[in-house]
Symmetry: C3
Subunit: 159 residues, 3 copies
Protein backbone atom coordinates (compact mmCIF):
# COMPACT_ATOMS: atom_id res chain seq x y z
CA UNK A 1 0.00 0.00 0.00
CA UNK A 2 2.98 2.32 -0.38
CA UNK A 3 1.35 3.81 -3.47
CA UNK A 4 -1.74 5.17 -1.78
CA UNK A 5 0.23 6.26 1.28
CA UNK A 6 2.37 8.36 -1.03
CA UNK A 7 -0.75 9.92 -2.51
CA UNK A 8 -2.04 10.97 0.91
CA UNK A 9 1.34 12.54 1.56
CA UNK A 10 1.18 14.44 -1.71
CA UNK A 11 -2.08 16.10 -0.69
CA UNK A 12 -0.42 17.60 2.39
CA UNK A 13 2.37 18.82 0.07
CA UNK A 14 -0.10 20.99 -1.83
CA UNK A 15 0.21 24.61 -0.67
CA UNK A 16 -3.51 25.37 -0.79
CA UNK A 17 -4.36 22.24 1.18
CA UNK A 18 -1.60 23.05 3.69
CA UNK A 19 -2.98 26.57 4.12
CA UNK A 20 -6.48 25.17 4.67
CA UNK A 21 -5.13 22.61 7.15
CA UNK A 22 -3.31 25.33 9.07
CA UNK A 23 -6.18 27.81 9.36
CA UNK A 24 -8.85 25.16 9.93
CA UNK A 25 -6.78 23.77 12.80
CA UNK A 26 -6.21 27.27 14.24
CA UNK A 27 -9.91 28.20 14.30
CA UNK A 28 -10.84 24.78 15.72
CA UNK A 29 -8.26 25.12 18.51
CA UNK A 30 -9.60 28.62 19.19
CA UNK A 31 -13.12 27.18 19.42
CA UNK A 32 -11.89 24.44 21.76
CA UNK A 33 -10.43 27.12 24.04
CA UNK A 34 -14.01 28.26 24.73
CA UNK A 35 -14.55 25.02 26.68
CA UNK A 36 -11.65 25.88 28.96
CA UNK A 37 -12.88 29.48 29.41
CA UNK A 38 -16.34 28.14 30.30
CA UNK A 39 -14.83 25.73 32.83
CA UNK A 40 -12.69 28.54 34.27
CA UNK A 41 -15.71 30.79 34.84
CA UNK A 42 -17.88 27.94 36.17
CA UNK A 43 -15.23 27.18 38.79
CA UNK A 44 -14.23 30.76 39.73
CA UNK A 45 -17.84 32.04 39.74
CA UNK A 46 -19.13 28.79 41.28
CA UNK A 47 -21.97 28.48 38.79
CA UNK A 48 -22.76 24.92 37.75
CA UNK A 49 -25.59 23.19 35.99
CA UNK A 50 -25.18 19.52 36.90
CA UNK A 51 -25.87 18.46 40.52
CA UNK A 52 -22.98 15.96 40.37
CA UNK A 53 -20.58 18.88 39.68
CA UNK A 54 -21.32 20.50 43.04
CA UNK A 55 -20.99 17.34 45.14
CA UNK A 56 -17.57 18.44 46.42
CA UNK A 57 -19.20 21.52 48.02
CA UNK A 58 -21.14 19.32 50.41
CA UNK A 59 -24.71 18.05 50.42
CA UNK A 60 -28.19 19.50 50.31
CA UNK A 61 -28.81 23.28 50.27
CA UNK A 62 -25.11 24.00 50.66
CA UNK A 63 -24.32 22.48 47.25
CA UNK A 64 -27.63 23.44 45.64
CA UNK A 65 -26.89 27.17 45.78
CA UNK A 66 -24.10 26.69 43.23
CA UNK A 67 -26.58 25.31 40.67
CA UNK A 68 -27.17 28.66 39.03
CA UNK A 69 -26.51 30.60 35.89
CA UNK A 70 -23.86 33.31 35.83
CA UNK A 71 -23.75 36.12 33.23
CA UNK A 72 -20.05 35.53 32.47
CA UNK A 73 -20.53 31.79 31.99
CA UNK A 74 -23.56 32.38 29.74
CA UNK A 75 -21.60 34.92 27.70
CA UNK A 76 -18.79 32.45 26.99
CA UNK A 77 -21.34 29.79 26.10
CA UNK A 78 -23.00 32.11 23.59
CA UNK A 79 -19.59 32.82 22.05
CA UNK A 80 -18.93 29.09 21.86
CA UNK A 81 -22.25 28.41 20.11
CA UNK A 82 -21.62 31.30 17.71
CA UNK A 83 -18.27 29.67 16.90
CA UNK A 84 -20.00 26.37 16.14
CA UNK A 85 -22.54 28.12 13.90
CA UNK A 86 -19.83 29.87 11.90
CA UNK A 87 -16.80 27.59 12.02
CA UNK A 88 -18.72 24.48 10.87
CA UNK A 89 -19.63 26.20 7.54
CA UNK A 90 -16.03 27.39 7.19
CA UNK A 91 -14.71 23.86 7.75
CA UNK A 92 -16.98 22.29 5.13
CA UNK A 93 -17.04 25.04 2.53
CA UNK A 94 -13.34 25.86 3.04
CA UNK A 95 -12.31 22.24 2.37
CA UNK A 96 -14.36 22.13 -0.84
CA UNK A 97 -13.00 25.57 -1.79
CA UNK A 98 -9.44 24.26 -1.42
CA UNK A 99 -10.32 21.63 -4.05
CA UNK A 100 -11.91 24.16 -6.44
CA UNK A 101 -8.55 25.39 -7.83
CA UNK A 102 -8.45 28.90 -6.33
CA UNK A 103 -5.32 31.01 -6.69
CA UNK A 104 -3.04 30.35 -3.71
CA UNK A 105 -2.93 34.07 -2.84
CA UNK A 106 -6.75 34.35 -3.02
CA UNK A 107 -7.19 31.25 -0.88
CA UNK A 108 -4.73 32.57 1.72
CA UNK A 109 -6.59 35.88 1.79
CA UNK A 110 -9.89 34.09 2.51
CA UNK A 111 -8.43 31.83 5.20
CA UNK A 112 -6.47 34.63 6.93
CA UNK A 113 -9.39 37.06 7.02
CA UNK A 114 -11.75 34.37 8.35
CA UNK A 115 -9.37 33.32 11.12
CA UNK A 116 -8.63 36.96 12.03
CA UNK A 117 -12.33 37.85 12.07
CA UNK A 118 -13.20 34.95 14.38
CA UNK A 119 -10.36 35.79 16.79
CA UNK A 120 -11.51 39.44 16.91
CA UNK A 121 -15.11 38.20 17.35
CA UNK A 122 -14.05 36.21 20.40
CA UNK A 123 -12.40 39.22 22.06
CA UNK A 124 -15.34 41.45 21.09
CA UNK A 125 -17.73 38.96 22.73
CA UNK A 126 -15.77 38.16 25.88
CA UNK A 127 -14.40 41.57 26.92
CA UNK A 128 -17.04 42.75 25.65
CA UNK A 129 -16.20 45.52 23.19
CA UNK A 130 -18.98 47.98 22.33
CA UNK A 131 -21.01 47.21 19.23
CA UNK A 132 -20.62 47.11 16.26
CA UNK A 133 -17.27 45.35 16.96
CA UNK A 134 -18.83 41.97 17.45
CA UNK A 135 -21.37 42.42 14.67
CA UNK A 136 -18.77 43.53 12.14
CA UNK A 137 -16.27 40.77 12.93
CA UNK A 138 -19.11 38.26 12.62
CA UNK A 139 -20.18 39.73 9.27
CA UNK A 140 -16.63 39.62 7.86
CA UNK A 141 -16.28 35.91 8.63
CA UNK A 142 -19.74 35.29 7.20
CA UNK A 143 -18.94 37.17 3.96
CA UNK A 144 -15.67 35.28 3.50
CA UNK A 145 -17.54 31.97 3.83
CA UNK A 146 -20.19 33.06 1.31
CA UNK A 147 -17.43 34.13 -1.10
CA UNK A 148 -15.82 30.66 -0.86
CA UNK A 149 -19.24 29.00 -1.30
CA UNK A 150 -19.75 31.01 -4.51
CA UNK A 151 -16.43 29.74 -5.89
CA UNK A 152 -17.28 26.13 -4.93
CA UNK A 153 -20.69 26.27 -6.62
CA UNK A 154 -19.24 28.00 -9.71
CA UNK A 155 -16.58 25.29 -10.04
CA UNK A 156 -18.40 22.16 -8.93
CA UNK A 157 -22.13 22.70 -9.43
CA UNK A 158 -23.71 19.30 -10.09
CA UNK A 159 -27.36 19.12 -9.13
CA UNK B 1 4.13 21.61 -7.53
CA UNK B 2 2.03 21.49 -10.71
CA UNK B 3 1.62 17.74 -10.24
CA UNK B 4 -0.24 17.88 -6.94
CA UNK B 5 -2.24 20.91 -8.04
CA UNK B 6 -3.48 18.86 -10.97
CA UNK B 7 -4.51 16.10 -8.60
CA UNK B 8 -6.58 18.47 -6.48
CA UNK B 9 -8.30 19.63 -9.67
CA UNK B 10 -9.02 16.03 -10.67
CA UNK B 11 -10.95 15.46 -7.46
CA UNK B 12 -13.34 18.29 -8.26
CA UNK B 13 -13.74 16.72 -11.74
CA UNK B 14 -15.22 13.59 -10.18
CA UNK B 15 -19.02 13.64 -10.51
CA UNK B 16 -19.72 12.14 -7.07
CA UNK B 17 -17.39 14.59 -5.36
CA UNK B 18 -18.94 17.48 -7.32
CA UNK B 19 -22.42 16.38 -6.25
CA UNK B 20 -21.28 16.20 -2.62
CA UNK B 21 -19.63 19.63 -2.89
CA UNK B 22 -22.83 21.10 -4.34
CA UNK B 23 -25.28 19.71 -1.80
CA UNK B 24 -22.96 20.19 1.19
CA UNK B 25 -22.55 23.85 0.22
CA UNK B 26 -26.32 24.27 -0.25
CA UNK B 27 -27.22 22.88 3.18
CA UNK B 28 -24.44 24.89 4.83
CA UNK B 29 -25.64 28.12 3.18
CA UNK B 30 -29.17 27.25 4.30
CA UNK B 31 -27.90 26.79 7.85
CA UNK B 32 -26.04 30.11 7.66
CA UNK B 33 -29.32 31.81 6.67
CA UNK B 34 -30.62 30.97 10.15
CA UNK B 35 -28.18 33.53 11.58
CA UNK B 36 -29.72 36.24 9.40
CA UNK B 37 -33.26 35.18 10.34
CA UNK B 38 -32.30 35.29 14.04
CA UNK B 39 -30.80 38.78 13.59
CA UNK B 40 -33.93 39.89 11.69
CA UNK B 41 -36.26 38.78 14.51
CA UNK B 42 -33.98 40.15 17.25
CA UNK B 43 -34.10 43.58 15.57
CA UNK B 44 -37.78 43.65 14.54
CA UNK B 45 -39.00 42.14 17.84
CA UNK B 46 -36.42 44.10 19.86
CA UNK B 47 -35.34 41.06 21.84
CA UNK B 48 -31.63 40.95 22.66
CA UNK B 49 -29.46 38.99 25.01
CA UNK B 50 -26.24 41.04 25.26
CA UNK B 51 -26.40 44.42 27.10
CA UNK B 52 -23.97 45.94 24.56
CA UNK B 53 -26.51 45.18 21.79
CA UNK B 54 -29.12 47.48 23.32
CA UNK B 55 -26.80 50.44 23.96
CA UNK B 56 -28.24 52.32 20.97
CA UNK B 57 -31.67 52.32 22.69
CA UNK B 58 -30.33 54.55 25.46
CA UNK B 59 -29.14 53.79 28.98
CA UNK B 60 -30.51 52.21 32.11
CA UNK B 61 -34.05 50.82 32.30
CA UNK B 62 -34.87 52.11 28.82
CA UNK B 63 -32.36 49.76 27.22
CA UNK B 64 -32.78 46.97 29.79
CA UNK B 65 -36.35 46.21 28.73
CA UNK B 66 -35.05 44.94 25.38
CA UNK B 67 -32.95 42.27 27.11
CA UNK B 68 -35.59 39.61 26.85
CA UNK B 69 -36.43 36.38 25.08
CA UNK B 70 -38.98 36.36 22.28
CA UNK B 71 -40.83 33.21 21.12
CA UNK B 72 -40.01 33.86 17.44
CA UNK B 73 -36.32 34.40 18.15
CA UNK B 74 -36.17 31.25 20.28
CA UNK B 75 -37.92 29.25 17.57
CA UNK B 76 -35.35 30.25 14.94
CA UNK B 77 -32.54 29.44 17.36
CA UNK B 78 -33.96 25.96 17.95
CA UNK B 79 -34.14 25.44 14.18
CA UNK B 80 -30.51 26.59 13.89
CA UNK B 81 -29.34 24.18 16.60
CA UNK B 82 -31.30 21.35 14.98
CA UNK B 83 -29.48 22.16 11.73
CA UNK B 84 -26.12 21.91 13.49
CA UNK B 85 -27.08 18.58 15.06
CA UNK B 86 -28.09 17.10 11.72
CA UNK B 87 -25.95 18.85 9.11
CA UNK B 88 -22.65 18.14 10.92
CA UNK B 89 -23.23 14.35 10.61
CA UNK B 90 -24.24 14.80 6.95
CA UNK B 91 -21.05 16.77 6.23
CA UNK B 92 -18.74 14.19 7.78
CA UNK B 93 -20.52 10.98 6.78
CA UNK B 94 -21.44 12.37 3.33
CA UNK B 95 -17.80 13.17 2.53
CA UNK B 96 -16.69 9.68 3.53
CA UNK B 97 -19.63 8.21 1.62
CA UNK B 98 -18.48 10.06 -1.53
CA UNK B 99 -15.17 8.20 -1.20
CA UNK B 100 -16.81 4.78 -0.67
CA UNK B 101 -17.53 4.22 -4.39
CA UNK B 102 -21.32 4.53 -4.40
CA UNK B 103 -23.21 4.56 -7.70
CA UNK B 104 -23.51 8.16 -8.89
CA UNK B 105 -27.32 7.87 -9.14
CA UNK B 106 -27.55 6.42 -5.61
CA UNK B 107 -25.30 9.15 -4.22
CA UNK B 108 -27.36 11.88 -5.93
CA UNK B 109 -30.53 10.35 -4.48
CA UNK B 110 -29.07 10.50 -0.96
CA UNK B 111 -27.78 14.07 -1.31
CA UNK B 112 -30.97 15.39 -2.94
CA UNK B 113 -33.32 13.82 -0.40
CA UNK B 114 -31.20 15.09 2.51
CA UNK B 115 -31.07 18.66 1.18
CA UNK B 116 -34.80 18.61 0.38
CA UNK B 117 -35.68 17.22 3.80
CA UNK B 118 -33.66 19.89 5.62
CA UNK B 119 -35.23 22.69 3.56
CA UNK B 120 -38.72 21.35 4.32
CA UNK B 121 -37.71 20.98 7.97
CA UNK B 122 -36.79 24.68 8.10
CA UNK B 123 -40.15 25.78 6.69
CA UNK B 124 -41.97 23.32 8.96
CA UNK B 125 -40.15 24.77 11.98
CA UNK B 126 -40.38 28.48 11.15
CA UNK B 127 -43.94 28.82 9.78
CA UNK B 128 -44.67 26.50 11.78
CA UNK B 129 -46.50 23.70 9.98
CA UNK B 130 -48.58 21.30 12.10
CA UNK B 131 -46.87 18.10 13.18
CA UNK B 132 -45.83 15.58 11.94
CA UNK B 133 -44.37 17.82 9.16
CA UNK B 134 -41.30 18.79 11.14
CA UNK B 135 -40.89 15.34 12.69
CA UNK B 136 -41.12 13.55 9.35
CA UNK B 137 -38.74 15.88 7.50
CA UNK B 138 -36.26 15.47 10.37
CA UNK B 139 -36.61 11.66 10.23
CA UNK B 140 -36.05 11.54 6.47
CA UNK B 141 -32.76 13.48 6.74
CA UNK B 142 -31.75 11.28 9.68
CA UNK B 143 -32.49 8.05 7.76
CA UNK B 144 -30.54 9.23 4.70
CA UNK B 145 -27.50 9.93 6.92
CA UNK B 146 -27.76 6.50 8.58
CA UNK B 147 -27.98 4.88 5.13
CA UNK B 148 -24.77 6.63 4.04
CA UNK B 149 -23.07 5.67 7.33
CA UNK B 150 -23.96 2.01 6.66
CA UNK B 151 -22.30 2.20 3.22
CA UNK B 152 -19.20 3.87 4.69
CA UNK B 153 -18.80 1.22 7.41
CA UNK B 154 -19.46 -1.61 4.93
CA UNK B 155 -16.77 -0.26 2.60
CA UNK B 156 -14.16 1.11 5.00
CA UNK B 157 -14.53 -0.69 8.33
CA UNK B 158 -11.11 -0.76 9.98
CA UNK B 159 -11.26 -0.99 13.74
CA UNK C 1 -13.89 9.69 -15.95
CA UNK C 2 -12.80 6.19 -14.94
CA UNK C 3 -9.41 7.58 -13.96
CA UNK C 4 -10.61 9.90 -11.23
CA UNK C 5 -13.15 7.38 -9.99
CA UNK C 6 -10.32 4.94 -9.46
CA UNK C 7 -8.43 7.56 -7.49
CA UNK C 8 -11.37 8.12 -5.14
CA UNK C 9 -11.48 4.37 -4.60
CA UNK C 10 -7.77 4.30 -3.80
CA UNK C 11 -8.25 6.77 -0.97
CA UNK C 12 -10.70 4.45 0.77
CA UNK C 13 -8.09 1.67 0.30
CA UNK C 14 -5.63 3.56 2.48
CA UNK C 15 -5.59 2.05 5.98
CA UNK C 16 -5.26 5.37 7.82
CA UNK C 17 -8.12 6.91 5.85
CA UNK C 18 -10.23 3.80 6.45
CA UNK C 19 -9.55 3.99 10.19
CA UNK C 20 -10.52 7.68 10.20
CA UNK C 21 -13.68 6.92 8.19
CA UNK C 22 -14.63 4.17 10.63
CA UNK C 23 -14.14 6.12 13.86
CA UNK C 24 -15.53 9.39 12.50
CA UNK C 25 -18.68 7.54 11.45
CA UNK C 26 -18.96 5.80 14.83
CA UNK C 27 -18.72 9.03 16.87
CA UNK C 28 -21.16 10.79 14.51
CA UNK C 29 -23.69 7.96 14.82
CA UNK C 30 -23.24 8.11 18.60
CA UNK C 31 -23.92 11.86 18.49
CA UNK C 32 -27.00 11.27 16.32
CA UNK C 33 -28.31 8.83 18.95
CA UNK C 34 -28.63 11.81 21.31
CA UNK C 35 -31.50 13.11 19.14
CA UNK C 36 -33.38 9.84 19.68
CA UNK C 37 -32.70 9.88 23.43
CA UNK C 38 -33.98 13.48 23.60
CA UNK C 39 -37.13 12.50 21.69
CA UNK C 40 -37.60 9.49 23.97
CA UNK C 41 -37.45 11.62 27.14
CA UNK C 42 -39.62 14.38 25.64
CA UNK C 43 -42.33 11.81 24.89
CA UNK C 44 -42.09 9.71 28.06
CA UNK C 45 -41.73 12.74 30.38
CA UNK C 46 -44.22 14.78 28.32
CA UNK C 47 -41.95 17.84 28.20
CA UNK C 48 -42.09 19.76 24.94
CA UNK C 49 -40.96 23.14 23.78
CA UNK C 50 -42.98 23.77 20.58
CA UNK C 51 -46.76 24.35 20.93
CA UNK C 52 -47.37 22.37 17.71
CA UNK C 53 -45.80 19.31 19.36
CA UNK C 54 -48.47 19.17 22.07
CA UNK C 55 -51.47 19.58 19.73
CA UNK C 56 -52.31 15.87 20.03
CA UNK C 57 -52.88 16.33 23.78
CA UNK C 58 -55.89 18.58 23.13
CA UNK C 59 -56.28 22.34 23.09
CA UNK C 60 -55.76 25.23 25.50
CA UNK C 61 -54.55 24.67 29.05
CA UNK C 62 -54.65 20.91 28.66
CA UNK C 63 -51.90 20.97 26.06
CA UNK C 64 -50.08 23.98 27.50
CA UNK C 65 -49.05 22.15 30.66
CA UNK C 66 -46.76 19.93 28.58
CA UNK C 67 -44.77 22.95 27.37
CA UNK C 68 -42.17 22.69 30.08
CA UNK C 69 -38.56 21.80 30.70
CA UNK C 70 -37.65 18.49 32.28
CA UNK C 71 -34.30 17.81 34.02
CA UNK C 72 -33.74 14.57 32.09
CA UNK C 73 -34.47 16.19 28.73
CA UNK C 74 -32.15 19.11 29.54
CA UNK C 75 -29.40 16.71 30.61
CA UNK C 76 -29.50 14.84 27.30
CA UNK C 77 -29.50 18.16 25.43
CA UNK C 78 -26.39 19.30 27.31
CA UNK C 79 -24.69 16.01 26.41
CA UNK C 80 -25.68 16.52 22.78
CA UNK C 81 -24.25 20.06 22.70
CA UNK C 82 -21.06 18.84 24.39
CA UNK C 83 -20.78 16.24 21.62
CA UNK C 84 -21.08 18.95 18.98
CA UNK C 85 -18.44 21.07 20.70
CA UNK C 86 -15.97 18.18 20.83
CA UNK C 87 -16.79 15.98 17.84
CA UNK C 88 -16.68 18.86 15.31
CA UNK C 89 -12.99 19.55 16.16
CA UNK C 90 -12.26 15.80 15.98
CA UNK C 91 -13.89 15.56 12.54
CA UNK C 92 -11.92 18.46 11.08
CA UNK C 93 -8.57 17.96 12.81
CA UNK C 94 -8.80 14.16 12.52
CA UNK C 95 -9.28 14.33 8.73
CA UNK C 96 -6.27 16.64 8.34
CA UNK C 97 -4.31 14.42 10.72
CA UNK C 98 -5.05 11.40 8.51
CA UNK C 99 -3.36 13.29 5.66
CA UNK C 100 -0.32 14.29 7.72
CA UNK C 101 1.40 10.88 7.38
CA UNK C 102 1.09 9.58 10.94
CA UNK C 103 2.11 6.00 11.75
CA UNK C 104 -0.94 3.75 11.30
CA UNK C 105 -0.59 2.42 14.85
CA UNK C 106 -0.35 5.96 16.27
CA UNK C 107 -3.36 7.10 14.27
CA UNK C 108 -5.41 4.10 15.43
CA UNK C 109 -4.43 4.86 19.02
CA UNK C 110 -5.69 8.44 18.68
CA UNK C 111 -8.96 7.46 16.98
CA UNK C 112 -9.72 4.60 19.38
CA UNK C 113 -9.04 6.62 22.52
CA UNK C 114 -11.16 9.53 21.26
CA UNK C 115 -14.11 7.30 20.37
CA UNK C 116 -13.83 5.42 23.67
CA UNK C 117 -13.62 8.64 25.67
CA UNK C 118 -16.71 10.10 24.01
CA UNK C 119 -18.72 6.91 24.58
CA UNK C 120 -17.71 6.90 28.27
CA UNK C 121 -18.52 10.63 28.44
CA UNK C 122 -22.05 9.92 27.22
CA UNK C 123 -22.66 7.28 29.88
CA UNK C 124 -21.06 9.49 32.53
CA UNK C 125 -23.40 12.34 31.55
CA UNK C 126 -26.64 10.39 31.14
CA UNK C 127 -26.55 7.94 34.07
CA UNK C 128 -24.99 10.22 35.63
CA UNK C 129 -21.77 8.85 37.09
CA UNK C 130 -20.18 10.83 39.96
CA UNK C 131 -17.49 13.31 38.97
CA UNK C 132 -14.70 13.30 37.87
CA UNK C 133 -15.92 10.57 35.44
CA UNK C 134 -17.46 13.02 33.04
CA UNK C 135 -14.68 15.58 33.42
CA UNK C 136 -11.94 13.03 32.85
CA UNK C 137 -13.53 11.42 29.80
CA UNK C 138 -14.05 14.90 28.35
CA UNK C 139 -10.40 15.81 29.02
CA UNK C 140 -9.08 12.63 27.40
CA UNK C 141 -10.97 13.33 24.16
CA UNK C 142 -9.81 16.96 24.29
CA UNK C 143 -6.16 15.96 24.77
CA UNK C 144 -6.29 13.47 21.88
CA UNK C 145 -7.64 16.21 19.59
CA UNK C 146 -4.92 18.65 20.67
CA UNK C 147 -2.29 15.96 20.04
CA UNK C 148 -3.59 15.46 16.48
CA UNK C 149 -3.71 19.25 15.94
CA UNK C 150 -0.05 19.47 16.96
CA UNK C 151 0.88 16.84 14.36
CA UNK C 152 -1.16 18.63 11.66
CA UNK C 153 0.49 21.98 12.38
CA UNK C 154 3.96 20.41 12.56
CA UNK C 155 3.44 18.75 9.18
CA UNK C 156 1.40 21.31 7.26
CA UNK C 157 2.03 24.74 8.79
CA UNK C 158 1.59 27.31 6.03
CA UNK C 159 0.59 30.73 7.32
Amino acid sequence: KTGEMAKLTQLIDNDIFRAYATYATIVLLKMMLMSLVTAYFRITKKAFVNPEDTASFGKGENAKKYLRTDPDVERVRRGHLNDLENIVPFLGIGLLYAFSSPELSTALLHFRIFAGARIIHTFAYLIPLPQPSRGLSWAVGYAVTVSMAYKVLKTALYL
